[in-house]
Each structure stands twice: as C-alpha cells, then as structure tokens.
C-alpha cells in the first residue's frame, strides 16, 4: 500500500512538470508584448519594463525562465502578480469558496444522481426509468451556461426562490443554485451510470444466492447489490470532485462566485501570467491527488482490487 502510494506520487512528478511547462509556454512565450496595455493608454516607462523584465526573467531563454519559476514553486513561493499581489494569498482566499461550491455540487450528484439511478435501475422499462433516461439526455444536451442562465432567470429573478447571485457572501444557502447548475451535467451521468451498474449486478449470482437464502429485499439491494454497483459511480464522482476543485469558470462567472474559476478567468483575460501558471499548477496537483485518493477508496470498496 505504502509502496503503491509512493510509486503513484513519483509518477506524478513528470506530469506536473510537463503540464506546468505547457501552461508556462502558452502564457509567457508566445508572440505578443507582455507589457501591452499594462500601463493604461501610454507605453510603460522603461524603468518599469526593466524592473518587471528582471523580476519575471523575461530576458532569459524561456526554458531557463521556466526552471527558475519551478525552483520558486518548490520552495512554496508562487510569486507575485504584476500588481504586486501574492499569488499564494489570492489562491488561499479563493479556494474555500470553490471547495464549498464543489461540495454542494457533489451533494446534489449523490442525492439526486444516485437516487434517480437507483429508482430507474430497480425498475427497468418502467415509467420512472424512461423519465430518468429522457430527462438525463435533455440535461446533458443543454450547455451549462444555458441551464445556469435559465435557472437564474426563473428561480432567482422571476420567482425569487434562491438568491440569483452570490457575491461576497458565499454561504451554503447562496451556493445552492450555482451548486445545482454545476452538478447538472455530472448528475445526469451519475444517474445513468448507477442505473446501468445496478441493472447489471441485479442479475449476478451472488444476488440470486442472497434472495434464495431468504434475505429481505431491503438487505439484498441495500447491502449486496448496492455496494458492488456503486464502485464505478464512486470513481466517477471522485474524478468529478477533482475537476470541480479546479474551479468552474462558467458557473462561477454566471453567479458571480468569488472562487478559483473566477480568479483564473480574470487573470487570463488580464494576461496575468504568474497568477495563471500558479493557479493551474495548484489545480492540476489537486486533480492528480484526488484521483489517487479515489483509487485508494476503490481498493477499500472492492477488496478484489489490491494495491499491494
């Protein structure tokens, strides 16, 4: 187990280096003046350009500059933006909100997604099954920004059931609507995955055995079938959680949630390279770590899979 984790962590190193290199190259080394528009309508004063060029190693060959950057990262220094803001602090401020939003979204996926999947999977071909199939197909095909805008219009503005925007106060209640919108796509996949997996396992031998030895229906489905059926679902939700922790640019933008997605999008459009590289590095790391965690949970859910 320990060796497995160690090996996985080691394998992450080249991926993280490569990914940050790609991002760094895209943000810093492509044509275009990094100082364009940085100082309002007039060109930047030479002293400023010189100071910034020195600070961000802009004169170095891009690979050299990248490794200098990587060296700083290793000591936990994410650098400062052009405005002099500490990237680390900005990320720390935005992360709790994004994490909260991701948790709300995952809660919706578990409650509604798995719930609908179980209802559909237990009665294949029934009215509920067809309802789940059709509604998930519809949800999957409506882009998130359309769902977000429409729900904001009706639930938020017209009927006033939920707050339409989040703003500075990211309380759980405020995050219900954005969380649901963020979850909508994955929710549909979770429902379908649960349904397929459950329907497959209901025909398994051990379920027939459980029924034959007279176990009550609740125990057959609740313990024997569910535990095995949920393995692929847990994998999917886990991977999705990793992706959600990377921030949701569209959803956070629509509902004005002050999270990582919003931060990244603002920095990209402002060409704030330090912030973008720092944020993307963090979220790729989180994504890889969550995936590792999911694989460990997988082994615990299904003892046949061992990480010896």
């Amino acid at each position: 187990m320990g060796r497995y984790v160690a090996r996985r962590l080691l394998q992450m190193i080249p991926v993280v280096i490569g990914t940050t290199l790609i991002i760094y190259t895209l943000v810093w080394s492509l044509p275009g003046d990094p100082f364009a528009g940085r100082c309002g309508a007039r060109p930047c004063p030479p002293a400023y350009v010189a100071a910034m060029t020195d600070k961000y190693n802009l004169d170095d060959f891009w690979l050299v500059a990248y490794f200098k950057y990587l060296g700083n990262l290793l000591t936990g220094d994410f650098g400062e933006t052009f405005q002099g803001l500490s990237v680390g602090e900005e990320l720390l401020r935005a992360y709790p909100t994004t994490a909260k939003l991701a948790l709300v979204a995952i809660a919706f996926e578990i409650l509604i997604g798995i719930g609908a999947g179980i209802l559909a999977g237990l009665r294949r071909g029934s009215y509920i099954d067809n309802l789940v199939l059709v509604s998930t197909l519809v949800v999957v095909s409506i882009p998130v920004f359309v769902i977000g805008s429409v729900l904001q219009l009706f639930l938020g503005m017209r009927w006033g059931i939920f707050p339409a925007t989040v703003g500075g106060d990211a309380s759980l209640y405020n995050l219900i609507l954005p969380g649901f919108v963020l979850a909508s796509l994955s929710l549909a996949y979770v429902a379908r995955l649960t349904r397929t997996s459950l329907a497959e396992n209901r025909r398994a031998d051990y379920v027939r055995t459980a029924v034959a030895k007279g176990l009550p229906q609740r125990r057959v489905i609740g313990v024997h079938t569910m535990r095995n059926s949920l393995i692929p679902v847990v994998t999917f939700i886990g991977a999705d959680f990793g992706a959600l922790l990377g921030g949701a640019i569209v959803t956070e933008g629509i509902f004005n949630v002050p999270g990582v997605g919003n931060l990244i999008f603002r920095s990209i459009t402002a060409r704030d390279g330090v912030m973008v590289t720092g944020a993307v590095t963090v979220l790729v790391l989180v994504f890889l770590l969550v995936n590792l965690l999911v694989d460990l949970i997988y082994g615990w859910l299904d003892p046949r899979i061992s990480h010896g």
Binding site: S141, L153, G246, V250, F265
Partner: protein, 328 residues
C-alpha cells in the same frame, strides 16, 4: 470544466476487433476476384454497423436533425430570406411577433435569421476540430502502439501531460494569447477556436488508438503481412488502421457535440468567436444582460444549441451501439 463525456461513453472496446480478418480490404478483394464466392466473404464491422444503424430510430431521428442543421449551415438562404446583418435599432429587443418569429436582438437584428445563420459557425468548429483531433490523435496513438518501447513511453507521457490540463482552461489560455478582434477575418477567428480546442482535445483519441493498435498488431494477419514483406506504412495503413479505427469513430461522433458546446461556451465568455461571425454563444452572452426583460433573446439560440448537441449525442449513442457488439 472537465470534458463532459462520462467514462461509460468512451468505448475502449476493441476486444472483438483483433480476431476479425481485415474487414473492408477482405470484402473488396472478394468482389474483385469475381462474384462466385461473395457469400463466403465475411461482412465487415463497418458493414454490420451500417445495417444496424439503418434500423435504429435514434440514428434516423438524429441524422435527420443533423442533415437539417448541415443544410442550414451550408445554405442558410433556404430557411430565411432576411439578412441577419440588416438591423434596425428601432426594433431593438422587440419580442416575437408574426413578422419576426423569434423577435429582435439588442441591435434590432432579426433573431430568426441570426439563429439560422449561427448554425454555420457551430457546425464548422465541431467538424473541423473533430477531424483535426481524430487525425493527430490517431497518428500519435498508432506510432506509440505500433512501435512500443521508448517511443511509446515518450508519446504516452506526452499524452498524459496534455490530458491533465482541463480542456476549457487550456482553450481559454490559447485564445487569450491569440485574441481575435472585430477586424479579424471570419476564417481566422474560426481557425483560432478550432486550434484552441484541438491543442488539448487529441489526447483521448491517442489513448484509444494506442490501446487498440497494441491489441491488433499481434493478430495473425499482421504477422502474415510482415512475413510477406509488407513495409511498415503498408502494414499500418492497410492492415492495422481499418481494424483499429472503430473506437475512434465512435468517440469522434460523441465528442463532436462536446466541441459544439465548448465553442459556444468560449464565445459566451467573450473570447471565442467574435462579432462579424454569427454564433449562438455570442447571442446567448449578449442576451444575459437583458435576461429579465427579453428572455426570448436567450431562449431561441439556447434551444437551437441544445437541439444540435442532443442530435450529436444521440448519433454518438447509436453509432456506439452499432460498433460495440458486446452491448447487443
């Protein structure tokens, strides 16, 4: 932010492929040599799939929708005679009426005409990006899978790196690096979006192709071809590719709808397609500021976009079912 394709939709199922004789090539050879043995020629996987597809209602419905959309993209004049760029500010944000079915947008342009003309950008971006990633991903995957060893290790790690960057994020970074403005010609604007999506989009195709090629290359007919002295390129193109392409075809059909969504998302964020190009994403983004007063500005392009995506998802489902005999 993650690619909206569930793991159960990606079909790494070429388990049935290796045992098959080279399908298409075999069929053609049989026909060329004379009709006498035609009954004995095994049907190809593609032929089987096509027979199934023609009988599937899901396929027929989605294909019909897509045909209409393609017609809309190619010849918008068939559907509307109004000029989408002839706008009258006096009509700004007028609701739907008898003369303008979908109402007018902020600039007073006819929404119906603009929605019809918006199909072109979506279809173009979707098709071009899909072709691009299918080509790049297949080449990378085929080399990695066929050569194995160091080439494989190198290409696979490269794929991993590109895979770890979220697609929407990567596309936004590329587009922010090469911004389009109102003056940029339409083909350039569209080309940039295609490139931005393609840079990170090829990884799954490469992984699919690699795993199928690894299975296929051990088949007897590949050994036989090598024994007969066929060169690497001939073996790859004539013997391996036709038998390893099915999962890529299935994935490409599904991912096409995803690219349509991503294009609209990028345009919605204001960094994808730009003003002279008419796009549903731009229309929706414009409509958001007037959501409360003029919801029709959002609902019509939103509905067209959703129906397009739905059609491609249904097509992908039907194609997957037809190509994956294990599900039958």
């Amino acid at each position: 932010m993650h690619s909206p394709v569930a793991p159960d939709q990606i079909v790494p199922s070429a388990a049935h492929v290796p045992g098959r004789p080279p399908g298409r090539a075999g069929g053609q050879r049989g026909r060329r040599r004379g009709g006498g043995h035609r009954a004995a020629v095994p049907r190809s996987l593609a032929g089987d799939a096509w027979r199934d597809l023609r009988r599937s209602p899901v396929f027929l419905v989605s294909a019909a929708i897509i045909l209409v959309l393609v017609a809309m993209a190619a010849v918008p004049g068939l559907f509307t005679s109004a000029d989408p760029r002839a706008c009258d500010l006096a009509n700004s944000r007028l609701p739907p009426s008898g003369s303008a079915w979908f109402g007018y947008d902020l600039q007073g342009c006819d929404m119906y005409a603009r929605t019809v003309h918006g199909a072109r950008a979506s279809i173009l971006v979707g098709v071009l990006t899909t072709l691009g990633i299918a080509l790049v991903g297949s080449v990378v995957g085929m080399f990695a899978g066929y050569h194995g060893g160091r080439v494989d290790a190198l290409l696979s790690r490269l794929t991993d790196m590109f895979f770890a960057v979220p697609m929407l994020l990567g596309a936004i970074i590329v587009l922010a690096t090469f911004p389009s403005t109102v003056g940029t010609p339409a083909w350039q604007t569209i080309g940039k979006v295609v490139m931005a999506l393609g840079v990170l989009g090829w990884t799954t195709v490469a992984r699919l192709m690699r795993s199928t090629v690894i299975q296929v290359k051990q088949a007897d007919y590949v050994q036989a071809a090598r024994g007969l002295g066929a060169g690497t390129s001939r073996i790859l193109l004539r013997h391996i590719l036709p038998n390893a392409v099915a999962p890529v075809v299935v994935y490409s059909t599904i991912i096409l709808g995803v690219f349509v969504v991503l294009e609209a998302t990028l345009s919605f964020l204001g960094i994808g397609l730009q003003a002279p190009v008419i796009s549903w994403g731009i229309a929706i983004s414009e409509a958001r500021a007037y959501l409360r007063q003029s919801p029709h500005m959002l609902l019509f392009p939103g509905a067209f976009l959703s129906v397009t995506v739905l059609a491609f998802i249904m097509l992908g489902d039907a194609v997957r079912d037809a190509f994956d005999p294990r599900l039958r």
